[in-house]
Symmetry: C2
Subunit: 413 residues, 2 copies
């Protein structure tokens, strides 16, 4: 299995500023890995609100069920994330393990267990021994500092090839507020599946319901418009925390999602989600190409999304991109199988701006050499114009390489 950093990793990693009200610490608790950190504790000041969205899996992990239940309170004081063990499909043991982890964290932090949020990623089906957190979390609570963002992003990695962070500073009213985000995903740990975890922190004073609205609206065209292999983890978790600390230097308290003062913040928040989700695609298992699928001229946006997802999840399309082949025949296939309104004779298809098919047949101006050259780029845009309506949508994915099969299939051979 290759351990090289993905060639699609962003070249610039931002400086991550502190967020007032957030302190971070990481440790090597020996959950599964040797010689690396595998636990993150984020301490959140009193008054921090929380929102979350989770996997739609019907078989969610124990931490997902824990977070869903605690979200009702709307308040958070601690986030504990471990890598190495997903605590998924662990039955009653898994539930007990989340409860014990929360107890240890609550004691270390000095809060109620209902203010502790949990996420786990790694092996599934193995019991997570929560006693390993005993002592560790207490020490982390004592040593946490506001500047450990890169350490935090590294501690939650499984086989991600690079840590994923993003930051933005914007005005809320007349005050400046900051949003920091981190994500892990598309890595793999044997014998396990990719899990996407992402955590967003801000000092903006937002009510839990405002935060939830922002998150729900924000994921629609970012994390929900992302696919590596069409497989949904039992553990996907995206949590957002707002400490409200910026109120001290004049940021207005926002309690309605429709508040016009939220405009710049909403845009920046959405941008952070877009940035992090693109980084996940860029670290897709075995990925050598970032692929953007744009579908326009659809009858509705959900219809455009389903067609874009059908293209983005097609193994035949993804292997063609890996082979630097502008195989629009497979794109037609993927449009056809989506089951959405489509008229073969109105279809146009472009790769990186070069139209290869038009009105249901090969574009008369098709130039094999020009297209082949374009397909060598590390980022490929597949654009499908359906010619039916005005709706459009966009999905991000990556190519399907032999490395993907090696990462996910080779470890027993």
């Amino acid at each position: 299995m290759s351990t090289a950093v993905s060639p699609l990793a962003p070249s610039d990693v931002p400086e991550m500023p502190a967020i007032a009200g957030v302190r971070l610490a990481t440790a090597a608790a020996g959950i599964r890995y040797k010689g690396r950190t595998d636990v993150l504790l984020a301490l959140l000041d009193k008054g921090t609100t929380v929102a979350g969205v989770f996997t739609k899996s019907k078989c969610p992990s124990a931490p997902v069920e824990w977070c869903r239940a605690k979200l009702k309170g709307g308040a958070a004081r601690a986030l504990v994330v471990n890598s190495g063990n997903a605590n998924a499909f662990t039955g009653k043991t898994g539930k007990a393990s989340t409860a014990l982890t929360a107890q240890i964290a609550a004691k270390a932090v000095g809060c109620s267990t209902s203010d502790v949020f949990l996420a786990s990623t790694g092996v599934i089906g193995e019991p997570l021994d929560a006693t390993k957190f005993d002592g560790v979390l207490a020490q982390l609570a004592e040593t946490a500092t506001p500047d450990r963002w890169m350490d935090a992003a590294r501690a939650i990695m499984t086989t991600d090839t690079f840590p994923k962070v993003a930051t933005a500073t914007v005005k809320l009213g007349k005050a400046r507020v900051t949003i920091n985000g981190m994500a892990k995903g598309a890595g793999m740990i044997m014998p396990d599946m990719a899990t996407m975890l992402s955590f967003i922190f801000t000092d903006a004073p937002l009510s839990a319901s405002v935060l939830q609205s922002l998150l729900k609206a924000g994921v629609e065209d970012t994390f929900n418009a992302l696919t590596i292999d069409g497989d949904t983890s039992t553990s996907d978790t995206l949590l957002a925390f707002a400490t409200g600390a910026a109120a001290a230097h004049g940021a207005p308290k926002i309690s309605r999602a429709s508040d016009p003062r939220l405009k710049a913040f909403t845009k920046a928040f959405q941008q952070i989600l877009a940035d992090l989700s693109e980084q996940v695609a860029r670290d897709g298992e075995g990925a050598r190409k970032l692929v953007e699928v744009v579908v326009e001229g659809a009858t509705t946006k959900p219809s455009a999304r389903r067609i874009a997802m059908s293209i983005a999840n097609s193994p035949l399309v993804k292997t063609a991109i890996a082979g630097e082949d502008a195989n629009w025949g497979r794109v037609v296939m993927a449009v056809g199988k989506a089951g959405e309104p489509a008229n073969r004779d109105k279809l146009s298809i472009s790769f990186n701006g070069i139209r290869v098919a038009k009105s249901g047949a090969r574009d008369p101006s098709y130039n094999e050499k020009e297209v082949s050259e374009a397909m060598k780029a590390p980022k490929i845009q597949i654009k499908v114009a359906l010619g039916l309506g005005k709706a459009k949508d966009r999905v991000l994915t990556c190519d399907l390489t032999k490395e993907y099969v090696a990462i996910n299939g080779d470890y027993r051979s």
Copy 2:
């Protein structure tokens, strides 16, 4: 690209008997391939009825549209199949090409164009030059004989690694009738997609509507319960022809699908479809394992089917099988993402009869060595017991290997 015969190819190839009323001939028309046959003409005696089922793609190929239209007549005199060019996504040219092919065939056979059925497989997006059939089909019509079944099965192959045939002889009333079938599929030709074509022939005197009923019921648990990569071709075609010749030696004419005399025939017909569809899975691109996914204890059969398909189409499950890894965590993931009723804590999962997970956690009797040994078998059964109801279903697929990626992605590198 490997040209070796799939290790999963059946060891026994049946002797294919003649079917009264059917004559076959093949030729090398030079559509795309060199040094091999690429056209099949099947001549059908007067009185032959026909039925068909086709791809559900919204962007079907020109021959699929041709057949759908002609099926209304219920009568057939000729079937023309070519490999090398799918005549798909070829716009108006494609439609004209089907009309010209049918004209040439009708003239050669001496029938109406509406009694000619067409299927094409191969490159898509390239115009099919139907003038190449000129002269060729006339010669084939003159030289066709009843015994060319293996030649026929070979002429329709693209990159299939073995020809796929099946036969059965059963009683209809007091007479013996024969069913012969052939299929191609899961092969690939650059730059193209897999297409499944299958043709069934019988001398039983069945009305077109009876044949259509048999076909519709028959595909449900055979060809429709088969997936290689979740990608649906624009060209999938399954046609059945009944010459009625067995009426001459006493077979009763059947005009109602509910006729009790059809019982043995229906069973044999279904068996042929099951046999051929399993052969397609055995020749799945790059396949090294045949995988049977059984879901039981579901609330309904469609629900069981959707869960089974979710497992069978999961790249993570398929790569795990390729790696001989009994990765039930990924099976749980695929159950969870299907969106169907499932209760994590009631799930049990077995690989080749060895239970590895029970009541939502690892089976206490799990023996790594025993399971690893079992995963080396060329056929793997994944059984999921949901524990919710009494419905069950079954889907066939194959593993996902680096060879799949090589076949579909490597040809430009």
